[in-house]
Amino acid sequence: MAFIRQRSLAQKEAILGWLLVFPWLAGFVLLIAGPIIASLVLSLTAWDILRPPKFIGLTNFHDLLQPGSHFWQSIKVTTIYAFVSVPAHTVLALLVAILLNQKVKGLRLWRTLYYLPSVVSGVAVAFLWQWVYDADFGLANWVLWTLFHIEGPAWLVDPHWALPALIIMDIWTFGAPMVIFLASLQGVPEELHEAAQIDGAGAVRRFFSVTLPLITPVVLFNVTLGLIAALQMFTQAYIITNGGPGNATLTTMLYLYQNAFQNLRMGYASAIAWLLFLYIMALTLLVFWSSRHWVYYQSSTDRKGEQ
């Protein structure tokens, strides 16, 4: 009797459990899993939405991967953007976190101020930076002139400076990784520092030998999320430069948008989406794979010895 009651309770709980996650699962199938497969199928077609799709095999991929294509240009832009901005803003976030971890007064105020650029995002900030980079009257060139007496470049209209301009703008929003670093630094046990100090390790040595190894999991977290976001950059490139000058800031997301929603080439754009998807997954896996060599997990030290 008791056994049957118990079993029916467990069954009830199982049914309830599934019921409660059902909305999420429905969303997952309809808006994520389904679309991923659908976009792979679409990538094999030519489709302008108005007429029925036409199966064309791998033609889209073949066209995209032609040497010198816009797609390659977009991958180059996206890669440079991600590979410069992610390390730069991770390092800056860590440096600022170390600064603020020095038992400074008014920590909350400073943290708020440094985080502020990261709260506002989107179009309003994009316009703000477009104005900051104005060649004749902008803030950027005023700072360069005032501090260093350098006549700044024409930033957004100069093919060499447009992409660096967007990268600098991205580095400015280092708030989220900074807050996460700050918390992880506060979690580093004081005794380890004291022990290292007694052993005669200086501040720099202590950072590299004690602090940094302990927070490598957080570095991995910040780098991974930063990389995935940077490889999908869109709004800044769309608003500030619209891919120009001369495709110097044509990110892959912008190229995808132009093809799908301006030229109505849904099949072609789906192929772009899939290639970008594979690229992001490959880079993420690469980061994860490499992390085995540089991320230190406290709980896995014993197992490390066995390997």
Binding site: E13, L20, A124, F234, A273, L276
Partner: protein, 305 residues
Amino acid sequence: MAQARSLSASELSQSPARSRSLSGRLARLGSRAVLYAVIVIGAIFCLLPFTWQLSTALKTARDALTFPPIWIPNPIQWGNFAASMTIPGLPFGTFFANTIIITTLALTGNMVAAPIVAYSLARLRWPGRNQVFALVLATIMLPQQVTIIPQFILFKYFGWVNTFIPLILPAWLGGGAFNVFLFRQFFLTLPVDLDEAAKIDGASTLTILWRITLPLSMPAVATVTVFSFVFHWNDFFAPLIYLSDQRLFTVSLALTLIVQQTNSQLPQWDLLMAASLIVMAPVLVLFFFAQRYFVRGIVLSGIRG
């Protein structure tokens, strides 16, 4: 006793100790001064673009185009804010109303749907739970760009393009993987005893969630509220592809219209900066009020991730 003894010991070696500590203190004072100087300079660089934005928003269009710039406008053009909201042909009242409707309904969706899914993952035992949680985690990491085109086609098929539905409905379907994750992590830190007690008293699972678990999870609630509000308020890509009728535009889309409205090649910077400040304002206000919880929530999501 021990204190007294060590005191007298230091008094014994008074003169060399004092000079050493004086130079040591000076050095420490110096390094503290450098530390604060660096922190202040860094903060100035973080705030400079905002100051610039405010300064431009309070200038005449002509004064905006001077080099070196005039930082404190004379006279201060408070009227720019009103002017930027009343550009002919750009009903910003409607744009704000649209944005508020979308943000409120999507935010509500996140706040209703995510805790329910999270509660099931944190508290109920059912076969396949770990696999579903793994899916949630994978979804957070998944680059969403690959889903955009089929999603658009799906919503178009339902006749929902040029409505708010594609911007709101996804929030109600499970509340977003990241929010689910954040709530689950927080629920796991709460004691189970209260749930069990309420269950014995005959409370249903949803009652327990709404009356006991959620009220105890205020940091998570505040964090998801801020994240979700900021996300939907600032969102640009989804409104850009789903809304083409100008009367349905959000404030983000409307900002791009200001640029097109001006006849000259360059945007009218004074009005554009004033309008963009107004668009940012709700986010800034919310951040200042919720920042303590907000930061705790980011930390929670980051560290456990």
